[in-house]
Symmetry: C2
Subunit: 654 residues, 2 copies
């Protein structure tokens, strides 16, 4: 236990590093680092299980700064604790181009940043995923190998965002007792005091969701200490309301929104130095305070050493789990599935094909953790070999997310970030909108999360336009670093699963049909979907036009090809299961696939973006309608007849 | 008060219409109509203030079927009550092409459908907006003109979705006592019993948010009656937990998820007829039950007549409010603003320009209701003339939405749907992802909602990639029926506001810069933004290339134009503030603007979609970074130098 005067200096060293860095960059958010420095000091100096010499230690406690704008709190902590990849120069380069110390914490910039935060509510929700991963692996490998806390600092905004309700509700349901959330209860948001926009009794709300709640003075070291110890022993997840003063120490701006998102400035900083009796120049630190912080480098060394021994003893199984690598021969089952499908000309909906893939994948990849947002029966995401985890039994590999798409997205991020598990989760394609902010974060962080998004078009039929995606394919194709697959049959579905599982550094979407689709791929020697697009049905002699199609429209294209040939028009059909991968191919390959003849695209979705490849585009640029699917395909002109006419039109042979 | 045996038959008439229609269409969701028929019967037969002969009566109670999959409950009710625009044939055509009785209730298909529902959580959240609109207009016009309840039927899914937390929290904060939510507490979701995915004590949670809560047997008429009366008298919003049996009456499927989303089928329906002693053929109704229902046609006639008199007496002010029409000369202030700006060469950020517009708009349009999701100081959405409503004073025209973007989106939908108010709301462009599902519904319903989305590019600077939109412009351009404006200066900003306010049947996005932009438009005789794109700076003699730019990149394009002219290359610059409107222009106009020369586009965002117009595209197809904005513009090549080089490249003059 560190004495209070030392703790006070340790907290103030966070405060002044933060204020000075923010002043220097003339940009940033001092209010939160100043307000939460005391809580963070007690947590990081005395309790958290981290080892700055082994920043990616698998059994470390996880820490998520859900209120990511307070990034200087985290950077200060990591520098003070002696992490090797952050220097005082990095602190001085806060928010500058190429710096590790970005405006908000960015996963990958520093080893100890457990996730990218900034969009409010995402951190606390992904932390639920980390805490789930911890329990799943604990159940499988025991306390010696996986037994750690997940700590979160969240602000008022995080608690107001609906995503945190979804995630906290699930955390309560699963009784994630090793999840501890510090709520920076400073009663200030950007537009003023919290009570201008909310009257919710947050403690009561979290109690209603099955949480343990505590309420402390966030500037009282002994209360902070006691709260952490109580939370660690709790049999439920814990929310600690830390009553704090935003901008603590800044004499004129503390307690107001003025210090939330703007530098304090020279004058106020000088007054703050006086106020806190801090007689050091900017970026200067008293040696004894720094030394106290640097004890962090050895504080958990014994625990780390013991873990290392246990991990080495544990054998290959655990090593494989935490490596993130797929087991050898993991895709043998998928290969067999493809061969069989070609033999048997299997005609199934691609959602059904995905289920068949999962039957091969789940037994082969023990790290898989599946789930669905209350649509398992429609997404076909639950297969033999999966077992749903409960609060009484975490030994499993499936999560019933409930009707909480957004939390599912964030929790999958947390699972992937924690490591040791590989998450996939299902919902209707159209409702992926609900988890879009989490999907964007997955793409930004570059993590392996797989979205099984079924009912991918007007093929939904009677449920109507609220349930029929139109703009979704385009909207994800425009998003950086995420792969959008729309396979045309069972073979391409298996290929998409293969690629998605192999892509360790980006998320993948599998957009899958509700309706049956015929087998179109007749050979299986290489994963052609990995090229993004390929000629699935070549012209007979000389290509007069090229039809590009995806998913359920590829069979329409092949039908049209036959009809056109009867009329003396020789066209090639290109299947493009993944536009993004196609754009990564060599120009030669792309030109080879696209050919020299006129190109026409057909997809039962927005035509937006297709002009990159096609001179003429067939698609749907309005919302859908409620009717049997086949009628809708005809009404919207997504059929052979219209395609034949359009090809003839483009060739002036109508 | 109707006697219980009659009520029972009235409820069963709902049940069998629903079951028979769903069987006939072989598609639909019987579980909820069967389960909630008793609650709905008491509400609609005895309490709700509706007039089937005046379905759009402004002071009617609003009803939102948040669990929209139970659409047959609503269609049955409306047919039974004698609404003129729904016949037994419409019931029989449930879910068929072109039918008014779509799979989910679609706003506009029937006069009495108050909103489109289906995406869970949206209905209950938009109902909060309707209840806010009611209170705002009540405060302004008094009880005689606007004084009605907003009723909601919500399912477990609606309560699990995070959006409902956001909206319910705000409803509690604003103490919307005329909002009454019936929770169909049947403990069943698609994947099984609710307790598989949630252990939340919903009543306690709603109490924590400041709601009154009641708990009743949803099949007991007297309990239902008492609950409605208690709720009507409550001084808070009320959640009524209606314990019901999903699929009530179906002997084998009731109480299970089997009856949620599939037709009961002939056999089970026959058993249900026996079980409920219903000796009528499909779609046949006992005359006395139908007569009891048809009393609805006159039940509120006296109230309606009194309201009509009051409305006629009230004078033009109230009429104008409810008409949705803008006042005469509403845009005089905007015209003056544009003229002054041109005179003074006003250089401001377009978010600032928007604030200047609002200063002209707010006093001119009393129906305006502004707001922001805790970013008023950044979005610059709060101007003189706005007054924030509170639970003690609804006489105002601004809502502090808190950090609840999704609820803001849904509440704005509710405001617009209620009528009498015209909503706009602000957040950062990148966080529009959080409210995307509500924006999609606004587009689908075709309602006037205006999104003020500031910080529209890497121009955000230091806050980094989590705060920098990349794919957002493309993602909204791909969405049907929504206008995306990205104005280049104050004049285009004013034009965008003019158009957005004039568009009564679609929502508009204003994507606005954080950073200052020079005045580029030098004349103001017509609203050129209304054409979507136009030549803002023509070639001197012969156009050798055309540069299309939007927003902050238009000034870069004009700088490049000058440099190119120095090098002997004569190009035209097209400003395209709204791609969607440009695509609605005549082909001649489009060709005229685009010209015959090579076209190059520049936009600090994803290039996705630009190939529709441009052979070469300059943009950003990765995530952004944290650094001062000007450095980012250079790093990503969104600058004059790169544009000049690319134009030369496309002309082979590099």
């Amino acid at each position: 236990m560190i004495d209070n005067s030392c703790l006070k200096n340790m907290a103030n060293s966070i405060r002044f590093l933060a204020v000075d860095a923010i002043n220097k960059s003339n940009s940033g958010h001092p209010g939160m680092p100043l307000g939460m420095a005391d809580v963070a000091t007690v947590l990081f100096a005395e309790y958290i299980k981290l080892n700055p010499n082994a920043p990616r230690w698998f059994d470390r406690d996880r820490f998520v700064l859900s209120a990511g704008h307070g990034s200087m709190l985290l950077y200060s902590l990591l520098f003070l604790m002696g992490y090797k990849d952050i220097s005082i120069d990095d602190i001085k380069n806060f928010r500058q181009f190429g710096s590790k110390t970005a405006g908000h914490p960015e996963f990958g910039h520093l080893d100890a940043i457990d996730m990218t935060t900034g969009p409010l509510g995402q951190g606390i929700s992904s932390a639920v995923g980390m805490a789930v991963a911890e329990r799943i692996l604990n159940a499988r490998f025991g306390d010696n190998l996986c037994n750690h806390y997940t700590y979160v600092i969240a602000g008022d905004g995080c608690l107001m965002e609906g995503i945190s309700e979804e995630a906290a509700s699930l955390a309560g349901h699963l009784n994630l007792r090793k999840l501890i959330v510090f709520w920076d209860n400073n009663n200030i948001t950007i537009d003023g005091t919290v009570d201008k926009a909310s009257s919710t009794n947050q403690l009561l709300r979290f109690q209603a969701m099955g949480w343990n709640t505590l309420d402390i003075d966030g500037h009282d070291f002994s209360q902070i200490r006691k709260a952490i110890e109580t939370a660690q022993k709790s049999d439920k997840p814990t929310l600690i309301s830390c009553r704090t003063t935003i901008g603590f120490g800044a004499p004129n701006k503390a307690g107001t929104s003025k210090c939330h998102g703007s530098p304090l400035g020279e004058e106020e900083t000088a007054l703050m130095r006086k106020n806190l009796n801090w007689n050091y120049a900017p970026f200067e630190l008293p040696q004894e305070t720094l030394s106290a912080w640097r004890n962090s480098q050895t504080r958990n060394q014994a625990l780390y050493d013991a873990w290392l021994v246990a991990a080495q003893k544990s054998g290959k199984d655990f090593q494989d789990f935490i490596s993130g690598k797929l087991p050898k021969n993991w895709n043998d089952g998928l290969s067999k599935l493809k061969n069989d499908a070609i033999q048997e000309k299997t005609k199934v909906a691609t959602r059904k094909a995905s289920e068949m893939c999962l039957k091969a994948i789940v037994p082969a990849i023990p790290q898989i953790v599946g789930g669905s947002a209350d649509l398992a029966a429609s997404n076909l995401t639950f297969v033999e070999g999966l077992k749903t985890i409960t609060k009484n039994d975490y030994y499993g590999n499936n999560i019933m997310y409930g009707i909480r798409e957004h939390a599912m997205g964030a929790i999958m991020n947390g699972l992937a970030l924690h490591g040791g598990v590989i998450p996939y989760g299902g919902t209707f394609f159209v409702f992926s909108d609900y988890m879009r902010p989490s999907m964007r974060l997955a793409a930004l962080m570059g993590i392996r999360v797989i979205y099984v998004l079924t009912h991918d078009s007007i093929g939904v039929g009677e449920d109507g336009p609220t349930h029929q995606p139109i703009e979704h394919l385009a909207s994800y194709r425009a998003m950086p670093n995420i792969l959008t697959f729309r396979p045309c049959d069972i073979v391409e579905t298996a290929e998409a699963w293969e690629i998605a599982l192999s892509e360790e550094h980006r998320p993948s979407i599998l957009a899958l049909s509700r309706q049956n689709l015929p087998l179109l791929r007749l050979e299986n020697s290489t994963n052609l979907s990995a090229k993004g697009a390929y000629v699935i049905s070549p012209a007979q002699k000389k290509r007069q036009a090229t039809i590009i199609a995806t998913g359920s429209e590829v069979s329409i294209a092949i039908d049209a090809q036959k009809q056109l040939l009867n009329d003396g028009i020789d066209v090639a059909v290109v299947s493009m299961p993944c536009m993004e991968l196609f754009e990564e191919q060599s120009l030669n390959y792309q030109l080879d696939v696209l050919g020299n003849a006129p190109v026409i695209s057909i997809e039962a979705a927005s035509t937006f973006g297709w002009n990159r490849f096609a001179q003429r585009t067939i698609g749907i640029d309005t919302f859908g309608a409620s009717a049997p699917a086949s009628e809708l395909y005809n009404y919207f002109g997504i059929n052979t007849e219209n395609l034949v006419n359009e090809v003839k039109g483009i060739l002036n042979k109508a």
